[in-house]
């Protein structure tokens, strides 16, 4: 889904959703092969070492590393959050720490759950992609803006639906999006106003620029196409 959206070609002069850097970072993060510092396995490892140290104040990191059949500097880096634990190590160490196969399986599964911040960013990317695609492909938005600027306009979703030939729900979904994207205002006295009463092609172009601007406020970087397909 993410890589597909990043590959999407929006056509001439239209923004592309997300940068290649974002795609690379998110795709890498979603296929984590190493245990994240701060994961529950990481904490378990630390707790086990602390428990041994409590039982025997002379117990060393070197002794714990030997027990785990690893290098003490590696273990030190792991404890300091400078190094991640390979999932293959997790299985071996889990066994040495007398974890049940079910426990180990849970810790392995945790490594495949995207980090909360990555998941949140993926969701933002998804939402902005949806907004941009809707603007680019559903001309209900432009039709509403066009009608709002026309004589005899009635601020009534049922009337608009009849004029455009779509359902009232389709009008209202598009209306919400126009309001979210600040492409339409409904002011006092119920007056619908848009600064984008322009031809359809121009509307799409400017509306997509607006999506890009608002996405940027969320820290989502949109870029115009460059090279042969841009103008």
């Amino acid at each position: 889904m993410m890589s597909a959206s990043c590959r999407t070609d929006w056509g001439m002069a239209l923004p592309r959703y997300g940068s290649l850097r974002d795609c690379h970072r998110l795709n890498s993060a979603s296929s984590i092969q190493r245990v994240m510092p701060g994961s529950h396995f990481h904490e378990s490892l630390r707790r086990e070492f602390d428990a041994r140290l409590k039982r025997n104040p002379r117990y060393s990191l070197r002794a714990f590393a030997e027990f785990l059949a690893t290098d003490h500097s590696t273990l030190s880096q792991i404890f300091r959050g400078k190094r991640r634990i390979p999932v293959s190590q997790l299985r071996r160490w889990g066994k040495k720490l007398a974890m049940t196969p079910e426990e180990v399986a849970i810790y392995v599964a945790e490594q495949h759950v995207p980090d909360q911040s990555v998941a949140s960013r993926q969701e933002q990317l998804r939402q902005w992609t949806v907004e941009a695609i809707a603007i680019a492909t559903d001309n209900t938005h432009w039709q509403i803006v066009r009608l709002a600027g026309s004589r005899g306009f009635r601020p009534d979703s049922r009337w608009i639906a009849g004029k455009i030939g779509v359902t009232v729900d389709q009008v209202n979904v598009a209306l919400s999006r126009l309001l979210r994207l600040r492409l339409l205002e409904i002011g006092p006295a119920g007056k619908w106003k848009s600064s984008l009463c322009v031809e359809e092609k121009e509307f799409h172009k400017r509306a997509l620029v607006r999506v890009r601007e608002l996405a940027a406020e969320d820290g989502i970087e949109l870029r115009r196409l460059t090279g042969k397909s841009s103008n």
């Binding site: 809707a134 009534d156 209202n172 979904v173 919400s176 409904i186 006092p188 006295a189 119920g190």
Partner: protein, 117 residues
């Protein structure tokens, strides 16, 4: 007067099905005979609040919003933004003369404020 919770709003990707489900389970009545075609819910009781159903895009999640009554929508937005909220739908007049706005709280949860005419 305070700022009471005035209304709940269900955002649904299948608003007709949502209306049918809640009507069947709770005996609510739904009336969309108004300029926005808004599915107004009457719970059939004077206790609690009334609500409505608004269509959500197909790719969106279904969720429920609460709307709080305020005297000054713009003033409330300024206060909320200063405390970390994000404005989603700017102040918008309603056909009945009221006004609403929708924000995300600092945890990303959607909520609305409304000035009833």
């Amino acid at each position: 007067m305070g700022n009471p919770v005035m209304q709940f709003q269900i955002l649904s990707t299948a608003p007709d099905q949502t209306a049918r489900f809640y009507s069947a389970v709770f005996g609510w009545t739904v009336n969309a005979d108004n300029p926005l075609g808004y599915r107004e819910i009457s719970t059939g009781s004077a206790n609690g609040i009334q609500g409505g159903i608004w269509p959500a895009p197909q790719q969106a999640a279904n969720f429920t919003q609460l709307f709080m009554a305020v005297d000054d929508v713009k003033g409330c937005i300024q206060k909320a933004e200063a405390l970390g909220a994000k404005l989603i739908i700017p102040p918008t007049s309603l056909p009945d003369g009221g006004e609403l706005a929708v924000m995300h709280d600092p945890q990303g949860m959607s909520f609305g404020v409304m000035k009833v005419r």
